[in-house]
Amino acid sequence: MANSGFPIPIGSVLALAAILFCIGLFGVLTKRNLIMVLVSMELMLNAANINLVAFSRIQSKPNLSGQVFSLFTITIAAAEIAVGLALLLAFFRLRQSSEVKDLDSHRW
């Protein structure tokens, strides 16, 4: 490679992550289906992961901390979605619905 710099400008990667995060946020705020709210949350977590991996390249002493952190995030996302979907199944069994708007009552 001619230049010694890293081929991808870090700013573009961070911008991509920011846009992805906002799309995920919009999904969380507007989607009706509980599964889709969970999925949009995963989108936001992914955006954070992109940032972590990108940051592991640009510290003053580049090291692997960012990549290790993103591995932790991935693991915790897996745990989160497992529990979330289990809750969803329990909820569906009670109310025959997977819509966010049916979640508002305190008792039934």
Partner: protein
């Protein structure tokens, strides 16, 4: 333009179009599929950023396990579910405005900041191959967080089984 840069723009385009597809799709199962596209795009991005292990872990856990889990959840609940057509009511307008504002602020601050140009000649893996280096970091520097995460996974596993199991008194 160098090859990796072109590859980055292609991947970014794929990721963003899958994400927009996720917002615009109405059948729940189409959304689940498009989020799979986002996950795979992110994995490609990690590979491009020299994070091979994280990239493959992303495919294995996100695209493999989580998307399948979501598909199973869709099939077990209301698998013909459709979102109602999108309307510009107050809530949606406010959320859109808020998200756009947040996006603009983040993008502006990214633009204003002078990011250090990463040095491609520095080997972040310290001479080892990437999985070896990650393993060293996980089991030496981050051994306690690693154990805690494994504990969390066990708790989540047991919790998920307990929650999803149909209880006797419900029947």
């Amino acid at each position: 333009m160098s090859g990796p840069l072109i590859a980055f723009y292609v991947i970014a385009l794929c990721v963003l179009s899958c994400a927009v597809l996720l917002l615009s799709a109405r059948r729940v199962i189409h959304m689940a599929l498009s989020v799979g596209g986002v996950f795979i795009g992110c994995a490609a991005l990690y590979l491009l950023l020299d994070a091979e292990f994280v990239g493959v872990a992303q495919i294995l856990i996100y695209a493999g396990a989580i998307t399948i889990l979501i598909l199973f959840a869709i099939m077990l609940t209301n698998h013909e579910a459709q979102e109602p057509p999108f309307r510009w009511n107050v809530r949606n307008v406010l959320s859109a405005l808020g998200c756009l504002l947040l996006c603009a602020v983040i993008l502006l601050s990214i633009r204003r900041t002078a990011w250090p140009v990463p040095d491609a000649s520095v080997d972040i893996n310290g001479g080892n191959s990437n999985p070896v280096a990650i393993g060293m970091a996980l089991f030496k520097q981050y051994a306690i967080p690693f154990e805690l995460v494994s504990l969390l996974l066990i708790v989540a596993l047991v919790g998920a089984v307990l929650l999803a199991r149909s209880r006797k008194e419900d029947e």
